[in-house]
Symmetry: C2
Subunit: 173 residues, 2 copies
C-alpha cells in the first residue's frame, strides 16, 4: 500500500509518499513542500497547488491519501485558505478514485509518539527514527506530511477491520 | 460583461449567470442549484460539484465570477464543507483564467436592497423586480446566486475605477 500524506496549506503544503512494509515497517519514498506566494490571488494559488499535487499523484500513484483535518483555530483567513486548499486536494484524489482519510493533529501525534500532545521536536525525532532517515526532514510541514502517511499505514489495518463508512472512500470511476 | 454568481455550498450550491446591460440594467441568463447528497463522501461530492460548475462555465462562458465569502459562523462541519466547495469553485475559475470577486452577504444585501440586513423575503422580492422575473426564483440559494451576480454588475464599474488589487484577478493563461 502506497500512502500520500498531506499537511494542507496554501502558503506551504507538505506532501509525502511512503510505502507500507511488513508489520510496522514503513519505507519513505518522497517528501516535499509546495509553496504559493501570498501576493498571488487565492484562485491562482489554488490552481498552482492543484497542478503540483496532480504531478505528485502522476509520479507516485498513491493508493490512498491521508490528509490533516482542518480546525477553526487561529487566524480566520489562514484557516479559510487552508480549507480551500483541502477542497482542491480532495478533488484531485476523487478525480482519480483515490480514497481520502482525514486525521486530526492529535490522532497523528498519538499514533506516532504515543502522546496526543507531543511537540514538534518530539514528532520530528520520532519520524526520523521510524523512517530510518539520516537527518530530520525539513521544514515542519514536510515532517508533518510524513507523520500523516505513517499514521495511516498503522491505522489502516484497524480501519479495514471496522469496515466501510469509516473513511471518505471515493468510488473508482 | 457576463457574470456568474455563486452561492457556495456542498449540499446546495446556487449558480446564476446574468448579462450586464445599459446603466443598471441586468439581463438574467440562467439560474439553478447543484445538490450533492450528504451520504456521499466529501471528496466525491466535491468532484460532482466540480463537474457541474465546469459544465456551467462551458455552457455560459462567464467573463467573471462573483462568489459569496465564507464566514466561520454556524455549524463547524457545514462551514468547512462550504470552504472546501469554494476552493473547488475558485479552482474552476482560475483554470479558465476567469477573475473571481468575493462579496460578503451584507455587501450583497446592501447593493441590492440598500439595507445590509435585509431579510430573505425582501432580497427575493428585489431580485425578482430588478431582473423582471415573472415569479420569484427558488430555492433561496438560486435567488442568492442571482443577487451576487447583480451585485457584481453594479459594483464592477467602481472596482474598475479603483484599479487592480481589489479582486482575486486570476491571470489568463
Amino acid at each position: 500500500m502506497r500512502v500520500m500524506g498531506i499537511d494542507p496549506g496554501l502558503t506551504r503544503c507538505g506532501l509525502s509518499v511512503v510505502q507500507a512494509g511488513k508489520g510496522r515497517g514503513v519505507i519513505p519514498i518522497a517528501v516535499g513542500v509546495v509553496r504559493t506566494p501570498a501576493e498571488v490571488p487565492v484562485p491562482e494559488r489554488l490552481r498552482r497547488l492543484s497542478v503540483a499535487v496532480n504531478e505528485w499523484m502522476d509520479d507516485y500513484q498513491p493508493d490512498v491519501v491521508a490528509i490533516e483535518r482542518v480546525f477553526e483555530r487561529g487566524n480566520v483567513s489562514t484557516v479559510m485558505n487552508t480549507a480551500h486548499a483541502v477542497g482542491v486536494l480532495m478533488l484531485a484524489a476523487a478525480q482519480r478514485g483515490i480514497p481520502v482519510h482525514n486525521y486530526t493533529p492529535s490522532e497523528v501525534k498519538k499514533a506516532i509518539s504515543g502522546n496526543g500532545r507531543a511537540d514538534k521536536k518530539q514528532m520530528t525525532a520520532m519520524i526520523t527514527r521510524i523512517l530510518g532517515l539520516s537527518e530530520a526532514p525539513k521544514p515542519a510541514d514536510a515532517a508533518d506530511a510524513l507523520a500523516l502517511a505513517v499514521c495511516h499505514c498503522w491505522r489502516a489495518p484497524f480501519l479495514a477491520r471496522m469496515g466501510p463508512g469509516t473513511a471518505h472512500n471515493a468510488p473508482r470511476n
